[in-house]
């Protein structure tokens, strides 16, 4: 087991290398660079000024030199500075992480609280009214585009009713503290969390239900029933524990989404998180920031896959990796 994990970790290194090269080359090959002069200062910034900046950033060096420089710095903990603001990339990204986590973390919690009980209940009472109702709703939920849902929520709650704010996570009009601040934050979070949680709750409910159904159909559950154990004991002890395995691994796979899964929601509600930073940096060709975010995201995906596999191996006694 440990050997397997170690091997996977080592395999991740060339993987990351491959990703970084792919992304780096892709960025460099497209027209227009980071040092374009913005429209409204055309003529103010001269070509010589730009050349000096090019020299500073080493942008005229051959691609492999730039790549090696970037990779070397990265490994030493220097993620470079943003071309747009001049601030360190690591700081720029790190500033955004808590905002995104607040949003996605809350949505994740809501998802867990809703999807697990509903999925369990639907599986246990298969073919019941509750099952059909919840499955249908889940099916609908999976099919709704999040940005449509968000837009309609905004129409109803911001434009029509005026109850909830439409932008950001806090109201700059007031300097709230304590409970008032918490209330303000909650009012700002309601809609974006609802949007995120809708789709993930629907999806997870279906997984939980499917996993539980799968387990319930197995022989050992029938055996337990035949032995005369109560439904609670059957479900509680055996089914849930085993049904939890695929669900837990699926949840582990959703770790990257906690960081970059809210791109669209952040755009609709103008929340300054990682997703928005990525979209803005892409249009500004802010290479250092883009590479920073992409590498972070890729590392997260690789790590979460590893965690999922490890959890699966740990929890399911039938699986042994060689």
């Amino acid at each position: 087991m440990r050997a397997y994990l170690l091997r996977r970790l080592l395999q991740a290194v060339p993987l990351l290398f491959g990703i970084s090269v792919l992304l780096f080359v892709a960025l460099q090959m497209t027209p227009g660079g980071p040092l374009a002069v913005a429209e409204d200062v055309q003529g103010r910034v001269t070509a010589e000024d730009l050349q000096r900046l090019r020299n500073r950033y080493g942008l005229d060096d051959p691609m492999y030199v730039q790549y090696l420089r970037w990779a070397g710095d990265l490994l030493r903990g220097d993620w470079g500075t943003s071309f747009d603001t001049g601030r360190p990339v690591l700081v720029t990204i790190a500033e955004r992480v808590p905002t995104t986590l607040l949003l996605t973390g809350t949505a994740f919690l809501v998802t867990l609280i809703l999807s697990i009980p509903i999925g369990l209940l639907a599986a246990v009472r298969q073919y019941s009214g509750f099952d059909y109702a919840s499955t249908s709703v889940a099916f609908l939920g999976v099919s709704i585009p999040s940005f449509w849902f968000g837009l309609m929520l905004l129409y109803v709650f911001t434009f029509l009713l005026g109850w909830l704010p439409s932008v950001g996570l806090s109201d700059p009009r007031h300097d709230y503290t304590g409970w008032a601040a918490a209330g303000d934050l909650a009012r700002h979070l309601v809609m974006p969390v609802a949007v995120l949680a809708l789709v993930s709750t629907a999806t997870n409910t279906r997984y939980v239900r499917a996993a539980m159904l799968d387990v319930i159909g197995h022989d050992y559950v029938r055996t337990a029933r035949a032995k005369g154990l109560t439904e609670m004991a059957v479900v509680g002890k055996h089914a849930v524990k085993n049904g939890a395995i695929p669900v837990v691994t699926i949840l582990a796979l959703e770790i990257p989404d906690l960081f970059i899964g809210a791109v669209i929601t952040e755009s609709i509600f103008a929340i300054p998180g990682m997703g928005r930073l990525f979209v803005q940096s892409a249009s500004l060709r802010d290479y250092p920031v883009l590479m920073g975010i992409l590498m972070t995201a890729s590392v997260l995906v690789i790590v979460s896959n590893l965690v999922a596999d490890a959890l699966y191996a740990l929890l399911d006694p039938r699986i042994r990796y060689r």
Binding site: F147, T158, F278, L294
Partner: protein, 311 residues
Amino acid sequence: MTLVVAEQPPSPIPAHRGDTAVEPSRSGWSRAWLKFCKHRLAFAGLMTLAAIGLGVVAGPRLLPYDPERIDFAAQNQSPSLAHPLGTDELGRDQLVRVLDGGRVSLSVALAAVAVAMTLGVTVGALAGWAGGALDNVLMRAVDIFYSIPGLLAAILLVSLVGPGFWTIVAALGFWRWMPAARLVRAGFLSVKEMDFVSAARALGAPERRLVLRHMLPSVLSPVVVTATLGMARAILAESALSFLGLGLQPPQATWGRMLYEAQTVVIHDGYWWRGFFPGLMIFLCILSVNFVGDGLRDVFDPRTVHRPQSD
């Protein structure tokens, strides 16, 4: 986590668990079709898609409005008899734009799925059939692509290269071929050693014929399901990209772009029709495709456990 795939080529499969009724002998396709039709929701989904398909192709021709003609006299009208879905800031009828946009959105999604499936099946077949070093290299490539978050990569690609029909198709397609590749490879691995293949080989069938006529058809059924469900994802992804402003250029309407254009006017001016109808169309399409995919899944492989893909 390993993938469990039915080890037999498609065979008559009972629609419900535990149901062991045997169907009378008929050709595989018509049996499958009957099974599908018994799945009421799937059938309804198929009919809805057909209706939408008809609407987006025929609608713009039949309606009296041009989706791109500007008419300031008709600016910002709410739904009425003359304009059932209202108009926008340039006075353009929204119904004809929704239909015209649907044609483009669905074309992009179809093309993206086609690209993804072609790429995936090719890679998977090569890997599964050839084995050895090629298999290793291709699977490493699959790993690399799996590790790059799809939406971010699509945003990056379109931002850098600039939006265009084929750029968007590529951006969407290049991140969806991996599941198909893995499925096909797994299918090939298991089918390779089977009796009917060895028999055909013993009879002297050339390798290419073996692959194309015997092995490939039997591994394609899970791919069909993946493709169908991938269609739903592609529609959603295309509208997401457009919603972020990275879609096709104006004045071409697509559902996502119409939602992008609707943001400010819905929230600040209350022109709800601008956001409601395009989104409704996306919703109906995705719902229908999901129903159809569900039905197909039941028809082909009820015991398949799919590894969920992260977006």
